[in-house]
């Protein structure tokens, strides 16, 4: 006869106490304990959920999305983009090019101060632009000043730039955060811990890996920023950000994944869908193997139904695109050699290349860099197989992918590349023979060199639009790459948040007009 152990009252009590203690502790605050934002007055305080801490607070080296978003609100640039991506005055009230286009005079705004109270003037502008040009600074936008041969201050509020050739893209180049104006007294080391800018908000506190808080810059030169403070709170998982929004702890977030955005949308949370400048493409390296033949590249281009890639890989959330995604210069997708998928034409191109039996293209794809990459590659592979083109896909960890991409070590690459408002800034560095990314682009031509030079020399918007239409045609007719689609970004805001304007370049600069009721 066995004396089995009975589940004693004591054991039940132990579990019960644990549960009661937990509930008591959790019950001490009401569900959705108000975040600090909700108790603020005037424009309120906003908590923005972000998945990562900025990897640097030094604006000239910031490329990470989260870092750029924080720094855009802290630092000022000579020019800025408005909500429609037009270049508008920033710290420079005006800029005038000489008749020959070789001298640009920048009139700086007076009465602008840095967060530490020091005055911004031409000395700071000259110092900033000069340091950006220095190799030792390792500034990421150094190449955007390639046409600038001399930088000098003619008085306290005027800067003269001498150019080697006219550069109509320069004002747009000066608007990015990597061209931020820093005080001539500041050092990278100091700014890494204590950012000191002229932006709408000033740096307040940072808890590494947890949050960064900015406060209103009361001395800001523009309209008074509306929010009392903005906290960028690090919540590494996007689903957890959604939960934080649902519980009222976070009032705003920007998502890339349509599925996450869909789960976030509810009674109190609205989603604004904004087409992005960044684009998905199948990069072809025209310097390697069969891809040196334009007919092989055109066969690939004709064998792909872009809409199918978009529907399959990204749930149809986006728009089929040509090379230029900027609204002012947008490429016409109907103008490409095969506006729709055309397998007969693809076969004809292959036959013309003497490859009627098909070709094999080694393709790299990143896993984890962005959500749709692997799905895109699988769909492309399936579609191209029907045209006797074998996509030999090599799926790489993001670090390995970046290494191969940087070295231009691929026949083809499934890529998501950033876009810029000005087509010269967007593609000049890829598709001109002297461009610093030409090795990665794998294609250039005398025609493109001439067109980009013409685009830089012309300041007339209509003329420039016509020139970049030709650039677009040149790229598509030679199937330099296969441009697929652009995605949306999804800005989720709580119903208490008003006045924010999402932008196609992903900028959060309009936090300066945002309020939290």
């Amino acid at each position: 006869m066995s004396h089995g152990f009975r589940f004693t009252r004591g054991a039940v009590s132990a579990l019960g106490i644990a549960a009661i203690v937990s509930l008591a502790v959790s019950g001490c605050s009401s569900p959705g304990t108000p975040a600090p934002a909700e108790s603020a007055k005037s424009g309120g305080s906003l908590v923005v959920g972000v998945t990562s801490d900025p990897d640097t607070l030094f604006p000239w080296k910031a490329t990470q999305f989260q870092a750029v978003n924080v720094l855009q609100n802290v630092y000022g640039t000579l020019t800025e983009f408005d909500g429609d991506l037009n270049v508008v005055p920033g710290l420079a009230e005006s800029w005038d090019a000489s008749e020959d286009g070789l001298t640009v005079t920048l009139k700086l705004r007076e009465g602008v101060t840095f967060a530490d109270g020091s005055t911004f003037g031409s000395e700071d502008a000259v110092s900033s632009l000069t340091k950006i040009q220095e190799q030792a600074t390792a500034a990421v936008s150094r190449s955007a000043l390639a046409s600038v041969t001399a930088i000098e201050a003619s008085d306290e509020n005027t800067v003269l730039l001498t150019l080697s050739a006219p550069d109509a893209a320069l004002p747009a180049s000066l608007a990015v955060i990597n061209m931020a104006m820093l005080s001539s007294d500041d050092t990278e080391e100091a700014l890494n811990t204590t950012p000191n800018g002229t932006g709408a908000y000033s740096f307040d506190t940072r808890a590494a890996n947890q949050s960064i808080t900015l406060v209103k810059n009361t001395a800001y030169w523009g309209d008074e920023p509306t929010l009392k403070s903005v906290e960028f709170r690090v919540i590494p998982d996007e689903s957890s950000i959604v939960s934080a929004m649902q519980s009222g702890n976070v009032q705003m977030a920007v998502f890339d994944d349509p599925l996450v955005a869909q789960t976030a949308e509810s009674g109190t949370i609205t989603i604004a869908k904004t087409p992005q400048l960044s684009y998905h493409a199948l990069q072809l390296n025209a310097t390697r193997g069969d891809l040196t033949d334009v007919n092989v590249r055109l066969a690939i281009s004709c064998a792909i139904d872009r809409q199918e890639v978009l529907d399959t890989a990204a749930l149809g959330e986006g728009e089929v695109t040509g090379p230029i995604t900027s609204p002012a210069y947008k490429s016409d997708t109907d103008a490409r050699p095969c506006p729709e998928r055309d397998l007969k034409k693809a076969a004809a191109y292959l036959a013309k290349a003497g490859k009627a039996d098909g070709v094999t293209i080694k393709t790299i794809v990143s896993q984890g860099e962005y959500a749709t990459s692997v799905n895109e590659s699988q769909n492309l592979k399936a579609q191209l197989a029907e045209a006797k083109i074998t996509l030999d896909v090599e799926t790489l960890e993001s670090g390995a992918y970046v290494d191969r991409w940087i070295a231009g070590d691929f026949d083809a690459a499934v890529a998501l590349n950033g876009g810029r408002p000005d087509p010269d800034g967007m593609y000049g560095r890829y598709f001109t023979s002297t461009g610093n990314l030409n090795k990665v682009a794998g294609y250039s031509s005398p025609e493109l060199d001439a067109l980009f030079a013409e685009g830089r020399a012309s300041s007339d918007p209509k003329d420039r639009a016509a020139i970049y239409e030709k650039v677009s045609a040149e790229l598509e007719d030679n199937a330099a790459w296969v441009w697929l689609f652009t995605s949306y970004s999804y800005t989720a805001t709580d119903s208490a948040v008003q006045g924010f304007v999402p932008m196609a370049n992903g900028s959060l600069q309009y936090l300066r007009t945002t309020t939290v009721n």
Binding site: V25, G32, A35, T63, Q135, S240, S247, G399, L437
Partner: protein, 323 residues
């Protein structure tokens, strides 16, 4: 002399621990360098392709990547002995400061998780063992199987989103509150992650308890105790459970050690700034010194926990003391 030392168990253990840590240091150093990319490409991504050779060199010098690997290793190791664990250029803080801030978070999470696991696992194990192959045993086994097979990320996400959307309860959506600055909020923020981890760890503890209790119950001294009229509750708690504790403590120590290594997924989902997240961020950003030093700290805590587990045997089992 050497013989004297080799017989000194304390010195022997310390020596073994030091060797283990040195091995870990070399292993992590090599593994990190084997991962493609470096801090420059991790920070700039594909924009690194636009760097001129001079810019690249300037950045390599800035991050100390221009030094030969041997110099990098011994320079880092030498600095460790002076208390300098390195510097995180991303966080702009010393690794020591970051670790001092992150370790208590993970330690607290590990303690709460283990307490919950023991509170769930031991009673459940005893319940199962009380009548093997009965419905109550099946219940215990099912709960144990669920704990082992439900992935932590799934349970964590389901709990977080379920409670947030239905009750608006999500303390982890607020800024993290350290234990001593806001204990109330801190305990709320630890509740869900501890439950998730505790549930997962309860399963092996439950299984170990069940096996150990069944084994002890078949011993002669239990029959003798019962024959002498020891009350059932006292028999189960003192004689059976008391003698079944050694494997349970071993399992608990092992699980606790793993938890101190950082429950990366749970820390990510619940936004806890613990040691697991610190290592993950370090790997993502290829911050070599940060990862190397943090992993070494984790290895050290693992060694200490093992040592403490061994010492606990002496407290709970007189046979170990005697030997």
């Amino acid at each position: 002399m050497l013989k004297t030392f080799s017989h000194n168990s304390v010195v022997h253990r310390i020596g073994a621990a030091a060797l283990t840590l040195f091995g870990v240091a070399i292993f992590v150093f090599i593994m990190l360098r084997a991962i493609p990319g470096n801090q420059i490409t991790a920070g700039l991504g594909t924009e690194a392709a636009a760097l001129t050779p001079a810019q690249k060199l300037a950045l390599e010098q800035y991050y100390g990547l221009d030094q030969p690997l041997v110099v990098q290793f011994f320079s880092w190791l030498g600095n460790l002995f002076t208390g300098n664990l390195g510097f995180s250029s991303r966080a702009q803080q010393s690794v020591l400061d970051l670790t001092v801030a992150a370790l208590p978070v993970t330690f607290e999470l590990a303690i709460f998780s283990i307490i919950l696991a023991l509170l769930i696992g031991i009673p459940l194990g005893m319940l199962s063992a009380s009548k093997p192959d009965s419905p109550r045993d099946a219940l215990g086994q099912i709960v144990g199987l669920a704990g082992l097979s439900i992935p932590a990320f799934l349970l964590a996400t389901a709990l977080l989103s379920g409670l947030a959307s239905s009750l608006g309860f999500n303390p982890n959506g607020q800024a993290f509150a350290p234990l001593f600055s806001d204990p109330l909020l801190n305990l709320q923020q630890m509740l869900l992650p501890s439950l998730v981890l505790g549930f997962g760890i309860a399963a092996p503890i439950m299984r170990t308890t069940r096996t150990a209790v069944l084994e002890v119950r078949s011993n002669d001294f239990i029959r003798t105790a019962r024959a002498k009229g020891v009350p059932p509750r006292r028999l189960q708690l003192k004689h059976v459970l008391g003698n079944a504790l050694v494997p349970i403590v071993t399992m608990t120590g092992l699980q606790f050690g793993y938890l101190l290594g950082g429950a990366v997924v749970v820390e990510q989902i619940f936004s806890l700034p613990g040691i697991g997240r610190q290592v993950l961020l370090g790997i993502q950003q290829k911050e070599y010194a940060l990862v190397q030093s943090t992993v070494l700290v984790i290895a050290l805590t693992f060694v200490i926990v093992n040592l403490l587990t061994d010492l606990t045997y002496r407290l709970i089992d007189p046979r170990v003391r005697a030997s």
